[in-house]
Structures are given as C-alpha cells and as structure tokens.
Subunit: 219 residues, 2 copies
Amino acid sequence: MARWDPGAQERLTEAALDLYLERGYDNVTVADIAERAGLTRRSYFRYFADKREVLFPSAERLPEIVREAVLAADPAAAPLAAVLDALHQVGAQVAEHVDHANAARRRAVIDTSAELQERERSKSAAVAAAIDEALRQRGTGPGTAALVAQVGSVVLGLAFRRWVKSDAAGFSAGLYAVVDDLRASLDDAGTTAHLDPAGTPPPEGLQRRGCAPFSPPRE
Amino acid sequence: MARWDPGAQERLTEAALDLYLERGYDNVTVADIAERAGLTRRSYFRYFADKREVLFPSAERLPEIVREAVLAADPAAAPLAAVLDALHQVGAQVAEHVDHANAARRRAVIDTSAELQERERSKSAAVAAAIDEALRQRGTGPGTAALVAQVGSVVLGLAFRRWVKSDAAGFSAGLYAVVDDLRASLDDAGTTAHLDPAGTPPPEGLQRRGCAPFSPPRE
DNA sequence: ACAGTTGATGACACCGTGTGTCATCACTCA
DNA sequence: TGAGTGATGACACACGGTGTCATCAACTGT
C-alpha cells in the first residue's frame, strides 16, 4: 500500500470500526487506527476531527436533509405532522444509503462507550436543531418549535434503532411503530387526565385547553 | 489560604464558573482553575472527573430523584401521566435547592461551548435512563418506556430552561407551559391526520388505532 | 520532455487532558 | 508522643489534538 493509495478515508473508517470491535474503544489509539489504514496519526486528523467522529460518517449531511424535508412538507400541516411526514421521507433515504451491516456494528461499538454515546447524542441534537430552524421558518412559534423538534429527533432516533436491530423490517415500519407508541401514550395520558373525577389542580395556571393535571393527584 | 482549608470543592466550582465566564471555556485550563482555588491540577481531578464535570454539580443526584418520583406516582396512571406527575414533584425540589443566579451563569457558559452542551445532553440522557428504568419497573413495555422516558426528559429540560430564563416564574409554570405545548402539538397533528379527506396510506401497516398518516401525502 | 504548481502526506514539536504512583503534610486518637 | 488516616503535592507518562514545514506524487502548460 503506497503513500498515495486512494480511499484513505474509507480505510480509516473500516480500520477504526474493526479495532473498536476487537479491542474496545478505550484500548485503541488513533495511532493504531492510522497504522492499520497505512497512514500516520497526523493524517487521521486531516480526515476526522477527533477519535469519535470516525464512527459517524453519514451523520454529516443528515441535518440538511431533514431541514429540507421539513420545509418541503405541506405548509398547511401542523408542526408535528409536518415533522413526522418529513421523517418518513428521510427514512426512505436513510434505509437506502446506509449499509445495514455496518450500522449494526457501529451500534455495537457505541453501546459500549459512554464517550461515543455522548457524541451520538450530539448528532441527534444537530438534527433537532435543523428541525427547529425549519419549523420556525414555517412560522411555528419558538417554544413549540423547540419542543416538536426534540420530540421529532427522539422519534427518528428510536426508529433508526429499531431499523438497525431488525434485519427484516423496513425503516418506515419502525417509524410508524414509534409514532403509534407516541400517539397511544399521549392518548392514555390525556384520557387519564380527562377522566380525573376530583382532580385538584396543581398550583399555577393549568387547565388551559380544558386539560386536567397529568394524573389524579395523590395525597 | 492554607493547604487544608475546607471547601475545596466549592472553591473549584466557583473558580471554574468565574474563569469560564471571563475568558471562555476553551481559554481556561484545569491548572488555571486549580490555581485560583488554591490547589493543584492533580487535586482538581480528585474532585471532578474531567474539565466539564465541574459545571454539573447537582446533576449527580437528579436521576435517582426522578426515578423515585416516577415510582412514587399513582400506579394506575398511564406512563406519560406518571412521568409528568413525577416531573412536577421534582420541579419543586429543583427550584428550591438550585441557586437561580448560578444556574443562569452556568447556562451562559454552556451555551458557548459545544463540548459542554454535549455533556449537558449526557446528564439529560441519564435522567431519561432513570425514567425508563422506573417505567419498566412499573410494568410499562420496553418500547413505550424508552419513548416516554425521552419525551419526559425533553420536557424537563425545556421547563428547566424556561425556569432559568425567567427570574420571576416558578418552575411549575414552565413545566405546564411545555406540557401545554406538547398536548396542543399532538392534538393539532392528530387533528390534521384525522381530517385528511383522501389520504393515501403510506406503504407499511399504519392505520392502527384508527390513525391516518401524519399529514396528507404529497406527490 | 521539462519545470512549476497543487494537494496529500510525513515528520516533528508542542500544549492540554487525564491517570498512576509515591512522598508529604495536617489532623486524630490512643 | 507516636501511629494511623486522609487529603494534598510532585512527578512521570500516555494519549488526544494542533501548528508548521518538508516531501512526494500527480497535474498543467509550454
């Protein structure tokens, strides 16, 4: 493998994934990764910002994709509806372009390292930020936009997890399963609240939209 | 300030917060913090695991508090209702024990550093994990527990942000405002979906619980 | 064919984080 | 007064991350 062999970045990602799985994330140095890829430590940092970034190659474009999907959703749709709609579109792209086997290996590595989970959450937060921005561009209020964006990001993350875990099912199936759960949870919570017979309202002003507190207050 | 002066940890937290605000997080070294606190770099790491941890002193006990609050909620309540109820209880403790002025200063620092935001998300994730565990202990299914836990964590985070931002309002007010937003968003999204006149259902099995897709499909 | 240019790489030095290890100091208790 | 205990300082070290410059291959124009 000569000095200018092409595909340096790909070699690095493969070497890193292999080594992280073999020895565990903490027992691998950047020098190890670079050596296996036929490069030096310094060159690794020309491709990736740090030791963690090598595991999140496709996460770079995701926020932009999500933002455009949200902006492309029906302008008349409610914020959450627009976001879920957009995630459906995004899911198709993701399932198509992401290698399922490698995604599963990445998940295995990430699940063993708190440091990597921390980084993964940053990627998820970047998606949330993109949704938030797109929603506000659609005219959604700041508070609602922030909330719906984070919920959307959570839903996407859980759906992606389901997709990775099950070899067979498509991405959409997982997405719908999560959204189903979300709808059911909120229906149940709402139902419980509404049925509250003698609910003493909590201190500050609630009761807007005719909602009782979250659950019958205990005493 | 002699070698064995008491309150070393408090001196470190104050020194760190001051320095981070004065020079910016990246322009402060652990040695700087330790020096201002009258200690050495090595001693700093005996009190805090790393350079970031010094900004999250009260986050250590939070997961346990939240877990217990969820377990203490009405066993008959739906998962989300139990969580929101628990967060209401937790909010009271937080607003009481956390110094509002310092919380605002911490927020200012965190908002300037991606590294610190990453760590903050980890704290939030720890809360989500605690909720998740408590919910499953209550008998909630794994998928629903994970989803509701993350949504609850998001709600708590946003409510805490509102509490820090507004000097006057109590924590509960922010919490209720966020929950109101959540209810409204889901009502709106559900409404839109249900009113969809000629909605072509998306590929895989949806329509469970009588719900149409998120929004009228575009072409 | 040849020289200049461009871009990727290696070599090296450097700073800061985080940790292991041991000596040192103050305080406590018998 | 002397042993023990716990917090601290001193020192060394591995590793992450960065700036800088030299080097080498490939491309470009003449």
